[in-house]
Amino acid sequence: MPAVWRLLKFIKGNPKMEWAVNEAIFRSRRTGLAPDTLRLWQGSASVVLGTPSSFKDDVNHENCIKNGVEIVRANSVSPEVFYYDMGSLNFAFAIDTSELKQFIENYQPVLSEYQLLNECIAVGLNKKFRVTSKADATGVYINNKKVSESLQVWFYDYLLFQGTAHINTNLSIYNQVTRSKKQLTTLKLEIGEEIPVGEVINALVQGVEEKLDVKFNEQNITEEEQKLIQKLYRVKYRLDKWNISGREPFLIGMGKTTVEVFVAYPPTSKCRELIDLVKNVTSDLQNEVEIRVWMRGRGINQHGPCPEISPVLRYVEKHSTLPAIIINGELKFSESIPSKEDLRKAILEVS
C-alpha cells in the first residue's frame, strides 16, 4: 500500500521566513509530530547559502543590493550556493529516509538518497515536458546543465532536502549575484517557452508518487509548526548573525529554549547547587524551556538515543569547564554560580 505523505504549498511571502518554514517542518517530522512531507513553494529573488558557505567568497553583495535580491542561509552539510526567483519552483522534502532504501539498488549512504530524490524530480519533468533530464546525487541535469539543485541536512535518518528547480529563473541575475561557475539551464530555455509553474508542481508531485510509491494528502502546517516558524524567524532567520556569519542558536526538538547544564559525575556540591538553581529559575517556564543535565564522562546517550548536543557542550567537556550553563548553544556561565536574576535574564533574553 502506498505511503501517505503530506503535501504543503504553504507560502509566507518573506524570503527569510520561507526558510524558517522548511526548518520547522523538518523539526516537526523528526520529532514525530508530522508525516513525511513535501513542500513546494515560490519565493521572491534570493541567494541561498548553505551553512558552510561563505558570504564573502560566494555572494556578490553589491549586485544583490542592485537587483533587490535577499541573502538567506539554509541549514546544509554542503557549501552550496544558489539563486531562485519567482520563476523557480522551490521544494523541501522533510522525510525519514529509512523508508527509501527499498527503492535503491547498489546503496551508497547519503549519495543514494540524494540521487533518488533528484530522480523523482527528473521523472516528473521528463514525463510532463518531454525533456531528457538526468539525475545524480548532485542535481538534475538537461544536456549536462543543471536545472535543479539542492542543499541537504540530516538528523540521524531524517533528511531535509531543500532546493530549487529552475523553470523560468533569470539566469543572468543568478550569475551576477553569486560567484558560481556552474553550467545552468532552465526548463524554459530547453523547451523554448515560458512554463506555468503550476504545471511543474503537478509534474513533481507525479514524479514522487511514481518513483516512491506514495500518495499525497494536501494539508496546511500545524499550529506547533506555525509557532516554531515565528520563533525560528525571531532567533535565527531574520538575523545577520545567521544569514551572513552562519552562526545559529542551538535549539532542540520543536525549538524550546535549551538550557544545558554540564556537571561532574557524581555532581559536586557546587554542581548540585547549580542544577537546583536552574530548576528553580525555570519552574514557571516549563513549556518554553528544556533543561538537559549532562554529566561528564557518561556518554552521549544520557537522555536516550538520537541525542541533540550543542557543539559548545563538546567544547566544555573537552576543556573540563565545569560546572557550566549553556543556553541555546552559548556558554553563559562557567565554573561559578550565577545569581538567580542573571540566570533568569539570560534565559528570557533568548526565549
Binding site: A264, Y265, P266, T268, S269, K270, C271, M295, R296, G297, R298, H319, S320, L322, P323
Partner: protein, 230 residues
C-alpha cells in the same frame, strides 16, 4: 526514584554517606557525599579536575609501584576519553610515578610537569598522521627525564630513542584502527621490559590489563585482534 550514581572505579551503585573519606585518586581526606560499597570515593576537586590536573595530581600523590594500575585508574576518570592525546603524557607520568615509588632516579613534582609539557607536543592522531604514537614517545620522554637526556647527550639520548622505537614497534604490531588504551598498555609493558634490561629495575607484579576494562566502552574495539581484549 532517582537513578543511583555508579562508582567510576568499580561500577557499583554508590550510597549517600557523610563521613570522612579518602579520595581514591589523589588521597585527599574530606567529608564524603557518595561512597561505593568497596569504599571508593572521589573528592570534589578530582571530580572537576581537567585532564592535566588529574594526571598530575594522581601521579604526584600515588604510592603505587605498578604503572598499569595507575594508568587504569586514570583512564577510568571521566575527564579522560576513550581516545585522545592525553594518553601521550599519561604514559610518561605513570611510569615516572612508578619509578619514583620504587626509589629509582631523582624524580620530583617538576618531573611530572615537564613530562606533561613534552607529551603535549604530540598531537592528536600522531600515530596515523606522523607515523609515531604519542604513547610510545611517552616511554622516550620517561627515559629522557629519568636520565636527564638532551639532544647533546650521548648514551642517554640513544636510550630515549631506543625506548621509543621499541614501544612503537610493539604498538604497530597491534594494528588498527587505533586504540589509545591498547597503545598505553603496550607502551607501559615495553617500558617495564626496557627498565629491567637496561637499568636492572624490575617492576614487581605488573598488572595484566587483560581482559581490558574498556572493551565494552570502545565502539571501535579490535576485539580478538587485540592482545588485551581477553
Amino acid at each position: 526514584m532517582e537513578e543511583p550514581f555508579y562508582c567510576i572505579i568499580c561500577d557499583k551503585p554508590m550510597q549517600p554517606k557523610r563521613e570522612i573519606a579518602v579520595c581514591s585518586f589523589c588521597g585527599k581526606k574530606e567529608v564524603s557525599d557518595y561512597v561505593c560499597p568497596d569504599g571508593h570515593y572521589v573528592c570534589e576537586d578530582c571530580r572537576t579536575a581537567s585532564l592535566e590536573e588529574i594526571v598530575k595530581k594522581v601521579c604526584v600523590a600515588t604510592r603505587e609501584t605498578d604503572p598499569v594500575k595507575i594508568a587504569i585508574l586514570l583512564m577510568k576518570h571521566p575527564a579522560i576519553q576513550m581516545y585522545g592525546p592525553e594518553h601521550h603524557y599519561l604514559v610518561s607520568n605513570v611510569l615516572l610515578a612508578a619509578l619514583r615509588n620504587l626509589g629509582k632516579f631523582n624524580i620530583d613534582k617538576s618531573s611530572f610537569e615537564e613530562a606533561i609539557k613534552r607529551g603535549k607536543r604530540m598531537p592528536l592522531g600522531s600515530c596515523g598522521l606522523l607515523g609515531t604514537c604519542g604513547a610510545a614517545v611517552g616511554v622516550g620522554i620517561t627515559i629522557s627525564i629519568a636520565k636527564k637526556a638532551t639532544w647533546t647527550s650521548d648514551k642517554e639520548r640513544s636510550l630515549a630513542m631506543q625506548a621509543t622505537s621499541e614501544a612503537l614497534c610493539r604498538i604497530a604490531e597491534i594494528e588498527g584502527p587505533r586504540c589509545c588504551k591498547a597503545s598505553t598498555f603496550a607502551a607501559i609493558e615495553t617500558a617495564a621490559k626496557f627498565f629491567e634490561q637496561e637499568f636492572g629495575i624490575k617492576i614487581p607484579s605488573l598488572t595484566d590489563p587483560k581482559p581490558c576494562y574498556f572493551r565494552n566502552l570502545n565502539t571501535e574495539c579490535l576485539g580478538n585482534r587485540c592482545p588485551y581484549y581477553r
